[in-house]
């Protein structure tokens, strides 16, 4: 879906997504690249929306948490997070899922260690990470067996 917006060029992408486009799934927690809650995909690669200026999105393909699932259902990763109790307050969740989505695209069957490494830019204060790793591991098996790639 192509979008054209008129914004000041120095607005951060996280502000453009949340305030100008109403896509509040992407969160801001630290604003300095240290927490990962603003993780989005730009041309398929994970990026931090708090450290990008709006103009950097020109002619780029952007996927936020709202756009991860195709159609009206949830993505395999989202369903897995719910099923494994990997969501408590939910604030880190969009960023975690986007980081996981990128990880599983580049490493389809990661070990638990590789999952932790792939999510090493995302902080969670609630869950203790165990269930998040469980959820991503399960999702990777599901995705691999269904041979679904986003």
């Amino acid at each position: 879906m192509e979008t054209r917006i008129d914004v000041e060029p120095d607005r951060r992408v996280v502000d453009v997504l949340r305030e100008d486009l109403g896509l509040t799934g992407t969160k801001e927690s630290c604003g300095t690249g240290d927490c990962g809650s603003c993780t989005i995909l730009v041309n398929g690669e994970s990026r931090l929306a708090c450290l990008m200026l709006a103009v950097q999105l020109k002619e780029r393909d952007v996927v936020t948490i709202e756009g991860l699932s195709q159609g009206s259902g949830l993505h395999v990763i989202q369903e897995s997070f719910i099923a494994h109790g990997a969501v408590q307050c939910g604030f880190c969740t969009p960023g975690m899922i986007m980081a996981a989505a990128h990880l599983l695209k580049t490493k389809p069957r990661p070990s638990r260690g590789e999952i932790r490494e792939g999510l090493s830019g995302n902080i969670c204060r609630c869950t203790g990470y165990q269930k998040i790793v469980d959820a991503v591991e399960f999702a990777s098996e599901r995705l691999d067996s269904e041979e679904e790639r986003d």
């Binding site: 200026l53 103009v55 830019g121």
Partner: protein, 282 residues
């Protein structure tokens, strides 16, 4: 809160870049933004013009020549550490940049940015020093080169004049070092600013005698610390823990770390020496 920025440019060619820098003499230049946009947030600067280099394909990528490799300044850390030629020729550099920040930071941050930021804790810098990296600097009138140790003058201070950008760095492909190691100590495993780090390349004989050794410490001084007296003292001796123990006092005395919120200077001295012991324990 940031003050208003009037214009942000996204040049795609060097001609566009020189034209912009010529018209906007006080323009600030950034590539990935992972250091620059954080600094901009913390310091109330009135910025007139910003130039983002990320679309300039001429400045991005690894180009191998016969005897050396050129790495474009806007090559991201992810691109760099996953490049097969870098992994084969310079595993110490590939390892170092693979430890920077986090996966998303590595997708955005660039090697040129790491050099120009010139943090005492810059993770790529020790490896670049021992590999003999030369920084290529370009402006509209031409280019020049400087060894990285001369380009970086102090914390956040580099030999870059108005109208100049770092275009990349040259790495000589010397004989392959058998042992290449980079270790970084931080307060956690990811998104960690190094408290102390050591990049090392070693060649040993069949009888395990050190023939050649180059060491560079990070985060234990205002710039990367190179200790030729330690290297000379180690050459010709067995590559063992015992040998390394004998130079621990020299290392602890010679580094010049600071105390800050992450670690005390005493701790950093100790870890700087311990990293050398770990090198011989691998």
């Amino acid at each position: 809160m940031r003050k208003n920025v009037t214009e942000v440019f996204l040049p795609e060619t060097v001609e566009e870049l020189w034209s912009i820098l010529d018209r906007h003499k006080s323009a600030d230049v950034y590539a990935g933004g992972t250091d620059f946009l954080v600094k901009q947030r913390n310091v109330l600067l009135k910025l007139d013009t910003l130039v983002c280099l990320e679309r300039m394909s001429e400045l991005r990528g690894v180009r191998a020549r016969q005897d050396r490799i050129f790495v474009g300044a806007t090559t991201t850390h992810t691109q760099l550490h996953t490049d097969q030629r870098i992994r084969e020729a310079f595993p110490v550099l590939a390892k170092a940049v693979s430890l920077i920040g986090s996966p998303a930071i590595r997708n955005m941050g660039t090697i040129g940015g790491n050099i120009v930021t010139a943090s005492p804790a810059g993770d790529s810098l020790p490896a670049l020093h021992i590999l003999g990296a030369e920084v290529e600097i370009r402006c509209s009138e031409g280019s020049r080169r400087l060894p990285i140790g001369e380009f970086i003058r102090g914390p956040g201070q580099v030999d870059l004049r108005a109208g100049e950008i770092v275009s990349g760095m040259w790495l000589p492909k010397e004989r392959h070092f058998q042992i290449q190691s980079f270790e970084k100590v931080g307060l956690r495993n990811g998104l960690a600013c190094a408290v102390a780090s050591l990049a090392a390349v070693v060649n040993v004989s069949q009888k395990n005698i050190i023939e050649q050794i180059r060491l560079a410490w990070g985060s234990v001084g205002p710039r990367v610390v190179i200790l030729p007296q330690v290297e000379r003292s180690l050459e010709g001796r067995p590559f063992t823990l015992q040998t390394m123990r004998s130079v621990v006092p020299m290392v602890e005395e010679s580094v010049s770390p600071m105390s800050d919120l992450r670690a005390s200077d005493g701790y950093r001295r100790m870890v700087a020496a311990s990293l050398l012991l770990r090198l011989a324990s691998q």
